[in-house]
Amino acid sequence: MSTQHIDVAAGCLPTHQLLNVDGKRIPDEELDHYLKDLKEADLADFLRDMVVLRRMDNEATALQRQGQLGLWAPLLGQEAAQIGSVRATEADDFIFPSYREHGVAWARGVKAEDLLSVWRGAQASGWDPNEVNIACQQIVIGSQALHAAGYGMGIKFDGGKQVSVAYFGDGATSQGDVSEAMVFAASYQAPVLFFCQNNQWAISEPVHLQSRTQIADRAHGFGLKTWRVDGNDILAVYAATKAALNHARNGLGPTFIEAVTYRMGSHTTADDPTRYRKSEQLEEWKAKDPIDRLVKYLHEMGADVQSYEQRAQNAADDLAAKLRAAITTMEDPKVEELFTNVYAEKHEPTERAAKNYLDYLADFEGGE
């Protein structure tokens, strides 16, 4: 099959873009309303978040190269999709992320070193889901969409006002669990937002291998209110997410957002994208960079961009230095943790296995 000139069906949904690549504001009849409370200071915060996140991501890649992390999954290029969406949620909306949503977790208050500790292999998870209202990160593609659907069913059944949010990528839309999740959420009209970052690539597989229609059109077919947005346009992402959450909170049921973006880095640090994609494509997307675009818009607005950029840079430097120090001095977990939390309640075979192994290790201590 040729990878050239693949015609993906144009679909029936428009792609919302509120900032074009030159940072010019494009009016949007449907979504502009959701930006009315955003002040210049909020945009400056968006800029800071994206700059810090990109720095954290680069630092993590460097730490992996230096042997400090076992693996890292870069999010380079997806900063607007992650920050724009998570900043639109309320703190008690519950999020079910995949393994690449570092920006989502970090924006909710998870420390960078706790995020990276999982990729170092020092911890099974980096945060308490009940503290930050984010589930453990999911590695099996798409499985978390069903957890989000179930959580949303619970909100519906107990009359809560929150929204359950599932994050996943274009590849995940081929998984049965994602389809089942949309069926369940639609059947019970549960307050669930399915947020798909279509970053064009599932490791080496281009998006047209997953879907010959626009992904957003598929969701539409499950009966979900759906938006397709430019995922590198933080205003479009933020506004569409606000609209979707609003829809759910008004009792109107589940929604779907396809944020069209691009994975500028590798799938993980173990991947080599030069084996499957052309550098021209990367260059094309660099021109659509989400951070550059917001900077251009701030200039358009006449804001003091230099001071905002300086502030963002300082925050990024600070985070990177602290992150590096924390990771390079992070202690390995104690061997007892092997057997801890396998079960919540007493489980004699696990206790016996732990005791046998620890006794075995103790035999060597201070030995011959």
Binding site: A124, P129, V140, G150, E180, P349
Partner: protein, 333 residues
Amino acid sequence: MATTMLKALNKSLHDALDEDEKVILLGEDIGTLGGVFRVTDGLKSKFGEHRVVDTPLAESGIVGSAIGLAYRGYRPVVEIQFDGFTYPAFDQLVSQLAKLHYRSRGRVKMPVTVRIPYGGGIGSPEHHSESPEAYFAHTAGLRVFAPSSVEDAYSMLRQAIDCDDPVIFFEPKRRYHEKSTAELLAPTPDGSPKAKIIRPGEDVTVVGYGPTTYTLVDAAKAAEDEGTSLEVIDLRTLDPLDIDTVAESVKRTGKLVVVHEASRTSGIGAEICAEITERCFDYLEHAPLRVTGFDIPYPPSRLESHHLPDLDRVMHAVDTVMRHNEATEGAAK
């Protein structure tokens, strides 16, 4: 008054729904219909459609959404309609449900009960007669319950729902209509069920669970007529596996026969035989034997009587371990 296992299970679910508003039932046809076996009969009309939830036909969806509900503080009890329909939910069971407590470092509890009517002997088509328990006993993080008696069906289901760990709860469907006059008692709060010696004996330890337990009691009665005394142990839980009770018995009898409907290779019987060989090697008078379903896909129902361990095959194994005993004694004389 005699109660059937179906009624005991129904009452167990009823009482759990009644006592804890976070208990929620999910499954295909469990609401309006009351389940294809009627285990949930009448529960939707009493507790409402938000407590007894008819789901779309998607097993992964049922288990996966139960996980999401548990994240929100519910105690879901899901029904998989038949054993052979469990596998579409395999990822959600073994990679999600089983591992979330460990993955979250103990911060997220998964008090989810997965009810699975299992086993053969009811003349059904393919996928309606399987015994998939070994997959789940092999998976760390899951508990596996397999009651056999009417009283246990009630109390162990209550225990499963009360447990903060996920429990795969296997219901012996061909025994659904067994009756008992015993009182249905709420479980004691401490600990999970232990194996139980349901018929004491001296010559051979025979171990089973779920539907085969009844066959073992029949075998013990038949053996008694021939002058052989069988000690029958009902395992009740397959994880945790109560090897202590089995080992204590084998140390007295010196002989072990393990019986299950599931296939032989890498099954529960293999695990028990290995554990007993390690712990009771010096007490054993004969190699432990297994009487199991064959290593074949579940056969067409006109052949299932050959596949399922019956009284004759159990007695044959008992005779084998006893004959060796006689020969040894003869040589010693």
